[in-house]
């Protein structure tokens, strides 16, 4: 594993994002739109309803952002380069497929974390500013803040691997993006079910999910690398 080659890919990808800021902005738009309605509900809750929030975890609803946000960019990462003809020159260099995959994944993870933590931070600030004080105290609980911090990279990484696996096997960028968005919905659903206490959140569940995601993230790297077939990507036929 060459960190120089991985860094070269990350730097190139981040430069491209910087030159085309619409990529990152659009990454933030969809999750932000979905947050507006629940946030307004929280702002409108009377102070007396703080007690009813004891068994709900509205903050965990925001874990849908890292599960959903990186899917579109990650879905484009391989198939777009293939369509633009930029993949072949990269594949002629000494880079190994696991290095290329890791570099691309890390490059998507950076803006995904910035968007997820950014939207999360703004939401906390808005709740502190606009919600009734008892409601704000009931919503902003330490364990949930910690869960948000820890699960955000784990969910984002999983979403990236799924989208990149689709990207490595797709020949059309639009199909890859649509499939990747669909594939990230189960993670969003689980976050929503925990948030609405359909699945009861506790430490044991958090640790189990955390370990499962860690393993899946490691497995994801391996699986996507295995799916990355140079010959198929260059010629469109299986080796």
């Amino acid at each position: 594993m060459s960190t120089t080659r991985v860094r070269a890919i990350i730097r190139k990808e981040l430069r491209e994002y910087r030159r085309n800021r619409a990529i990152v902005v659009t990454m933030a738009i969809v999750p932000t739109v979905f947050l507006v309605e629940p946030l307004i509900q929280i702002f409108n809750l009377p102070a007396s309803s703080a007690g009813t929030l004891a068994h709900k975890h509205p903050l965990l609803y925001m874990l849908g952002i890292p599960a959903l946000a990186p899917a579109l960019i990650a879905a484009a990462s391989v198939v777009a380069e293939r369509q633009q003809g930029t993949l072949e020159p990269v594949l002629t260099t000494p880079i190994r497929r696991d290095e290329l995959i890791l570099g691309k994944a890390l490059a998507v993870l950076v803006p995904a974390l910035v968007v997820s933590y950014g939207v999360f931070g703004l939401s906390i600030a808005a709740i502190e500013l606009f919600a009734q004080a008892p409601v704000a105290s009931a919503v902003l609980r330490g364990p949930e803040l910690l869960a948000q911090l820890l699960f955000t990279p784990l969910l984002a990484t999983w979403s990236i691997w799924v989208a990149m696996a689709i990207s490595a096997r797709s020949s059309d960028i639009r199909v890859a993006q649509q499939l990747s968005t669909l594939a990230s919905l189960p993670s969003v659903l689980v976050s929503a079910l925990v948030s609405f206490d359909v699945i009861h959140a506790n430490l044991r569940l958090a640790v189990s999910l955390g370990i499962a995601l860690l393993l899946l993230d490691r497995l994801g790297w391996w699986v996507v690398s295995a799916l990355f077939d140079r010959e198929r990507l260059i010629t469109g036929t299986r080796s």
């Binding site: 080659r5 070269a8 730097r11 140079r230 260059i234």
Partner: protein, 329 residues
């Protein structure tokens, strides 16, 4: 030309050929891309790989560049056997410039090269980038966004990108495709400069005049390798040497003039009225023919040896294949 390949620290290559290809075949299912291709390319040689569209040239380059796996046969690329395990080592020693430049259009020229310097783990990336840009005369365009460059300039950036890795063997796939004559000449000059530095160049091209100018040897591929050799040797192998004789008026008895002359094998008259004489000895036949014409009282306009170009060789071989395929059907 200022770009210089650093000396191989491990003595890589030695005196061995840069490319050794033995009965290499690639099939995609039932479709044969190329088969039973065998050739060698010496170190520092410029080898032209010619053939019609779909002949398997690009697939051969991709196979030797470890992008796709051969179906059968073997090869050694830059002294490394072509096996899946050796992919990284081979790609470290070679560079491929595909037909389409494939640049990151939102990034600058220098940023494109920086990325590839990183991928090749160049020890002094900025120095290498500077030399590569100098080699293609693009130093003053380093900060330009690639999307704003003309096709010719993009091609030159792609060439600079191929040089950043300091390759032992450089595969150029149609490097002058779509370039104007001046830009194409610049690329030819660059190829010549690389040859002088000892870089082995494997050039696929449709420009036969270009191949004739820059290549030491050429191979003509049409799924199978039809011929290989120096352009002059191919001409000799394929075409009998011919003298073209033009006279002011037709000869009364040409057979009596040409028959039995030393070095003359046969003759015929073409549509323009010229006498085309097949010869076996180019030092004895022309003087003998000239003397015979003078003795016959012919008004001689010219006696000249017919010159066949590489294009004639190419077309002759490809036409043979077309005829053969038509007969099989």
């Amino acid at each position: 030309m200022t770009l210089g390949r650093s000396a191989a620290p491990d003595g890589r290559g030695g005196g061995a050929p840069a490319l050794v290809v033995e009965r290499l075949t690639k099939r995609f299912g039932e479709r044969v891309a190329f088969q039973d291709v065998s050739f060698e390319v010496g170190q520092g040689e410029v080898f032209g790989f010619l053939g019609p569209n779909g002949a398997g040239k690009t697939t051969t380059v991709r196979t030797l560049g470890t992008l796709i796996a051969p179906t059968s046969g073997s090869a050694t690329v830059a002294a490394v056997p072509l096996t899946p395990e050796n992919g990284v080592e081979i790609r470290r020693r070679i560079a491929i410039m595909p037909e389409s430049p494939g640049l990151y259009l939102r990034l600058s020229v220098a940023e494109n090269l920086e990325c590839f310097a990183g991928l090749y783990e160049s020890p002094a990336p900025h120095e290498r980038i500077g030399r590569a840009l100098e080699a293609v005369n693009l130093v003053d365009r380093a900060g330009d966004t690639c999307g704003a460059l003309s096709k010719g300039l993009r091609q030159r950036v792609a060439l600079a990108r191929a040089l950043v890795g300091d390759p032992e063997v450089l595969f150029l796939d149609e490097p002058t495709s779509g370039l104007d004559p001046v830009a194409a000449r610049d690329v030819e000059d660059l190829i010549d400069g690389l040859r002088q530095r000892g870089v082995t160049i494997f050039l696929t091209t449709h420009r036969l005049d270009e191949a004739e100018r820059v290549c030491d040897r050429v191979g003509i591929l049409n799924t199978t390798l039809r011929m290989i050799g120096r352009p002059a040797d191919l001409r000799e192998q394929l075409f009998a040497r011919t003298l073209a004789v033009r006279t002011l008026a037709p000869l009364a008895d040409p057979d009596a003039v040409f028959r039995g002359l030393p070095g003359v094998e046969s003759w015929h008259q073409d549509r323009s009225g010229a006498y085309l004489i097949s010869i076996s000895d180019s030092s004895r036949a022309p003087p003998a023919v000239t003397r015979a014409l003078v003795q016959a009282g012919a008004d001689v306009l010219s006696v000249a040896e017919s010159q066949h170009s590489l294009q004639d060789v190419y077309l002759e071989l490809i036409d043979e294949d077309v005829e053969l395929n038509a007969r099989r059907r």
